[in-house]
Amino acid sequence: MTSKLSRNLRLVFSYAFLIALVVIVFYPIAWAFMGSLNPGDSLSKTKLFTTDLSFKHYIYLFKETNYLKWYWNTLKIALGTMVLSTIFVVSAGYAFSRYRFKGRKYGLMTMLVLQMFPSFMGMIAIFLLLDRVGLLDTHIGLILVYSGGGIPFGAWLVKGYFDGIPKSLEEAARIDGAGHITVFFKVMVPLARPILVFVAVNNFIGPWMDFIFARLVLTSPEKKTLAIGLFDMITGKSNTQFTNFAAGAVLVAIPITILFILFQKHIVEGLKAGANKG
């Protein structure tokens, strides 16, 4: 009798907790969404429950601003970073996991230490470097900045995952007649898929959301990313287009939501693996 009661109590608390979490997560999203549908410019007049809705902010985004252009720029940068940094990270992680070379230990330690400094510390250096090589105000430059910055964390994660794959698999493949390249692509990469997807998705989301480096590197208006373009709507003295901003923000969330839904299983696996071995 008492055990049944305590079980019910526990259930009630669990559900209460979950419901609270859902409210905390969804409340701001609901506001942004409703704000994007409210006519008028100010969020303070927005009501969460109202029937007075319009799509005029979305129309404004597409008609009056360069929203599509920004979207395309951001997509390009995010996809480029995803591909490039996944290649970097996987090859670095594999080398650190499987090869014994001079400086391996110190290399790993260096990456671990570097990771602890916030990336803003390198901003001036990055700016000067890009200026020297003439990549300032280019998307390639920005992609390189993101991809390079993602290596330390990702390489550790992938190295840890590769460490967990038995060496005998590679040896068996070598006896079977595989060279280094075949071992890597036919045996190791397929086995490391969960962590690779995790790294790839992470490196997509980073640039997609980033504001600081995009602002630093990109200066001309036609190269703006979503983050900069949207933020410009609500900063400055006369820019108070909070509702247009909300509409833009709602659309920004779409690709990431799709990515998460598609790769949810892999992301969870990757997180777990990272927790165990990274």
Binding site: S168, R174, I175, D176
Partner: protein, 159 residues
């Protein structure tokens, strides 16, 4: 057809004080079945791994069919090895596991199929040919590991 000759084989791991294998001499003629027995850590696996080419030989010569193969990479030695943990490729089916080496050695598709199916029949693996190693019992996995090599070459080292 294979003869293996070990002549004064020695293995010294870096950082170890004593060598793991010292002055090991052995002639194995064709078709002969050899068993290494000994306490753990006495160098049985190390010797096998040297014959397979997975470990460098510190000193001495190893010849297969009269050719010294100390520097030959594993894939050119035409040997096969069953690992202690079987080392089956988890992402491949039983068929692909057994066909992997043949594919890398560029056999015809039809010949691969014939060899693999033949090996599977001998080992009683035909009903499981499309399964992944995860869905097999321990004994079945061991047989796949054997079959992976039986389908490919003559000499087998069982680690």
């Amino acid at each position: 057809m294979a003869e293996i000759t070990l002549n004064g084989i020695q293995k010294q791991y870096e950082g170890d004080q004593a060598p793991s294998v010292t002055d090991f001499n052995l002639d194995i003629s064709n078709g002969e079945l050899i068993v290494f027995v000994g306490p753990s850590g006495c160098g049985k696996s190390t010797t096998l791994r040297m014959i397979a080419g997975l470990e460098d030989i510190t000193d001495g010569t190893l010849s297969i069919n009269g050719n010294v193969v100390n520097q030959t990479p594993p894939k050119e030695r035409d040997i096969a090895m069953v690992f202690q943990d079987y080392a089956l490729y988890p992402q491949m089916s039983v068929y692909d596991n057994m066909a992997f080496g043949l594919k890398l050695r560029k056999y015809d598709k039809s010949e691969i199929k014939e060899r693999v199916e033949n090996a599977a029949k001998i080992l009683g693996l035909t009903p499981y040919i499309d399964r992944k190693p995860k869905a097999l019992s321990g004994g079945q996995r061991q047989r796949v590991a054997l079959g992976r090599h039986r389908s490919e070459s003559e000499g087998v080292l069982d680690g």
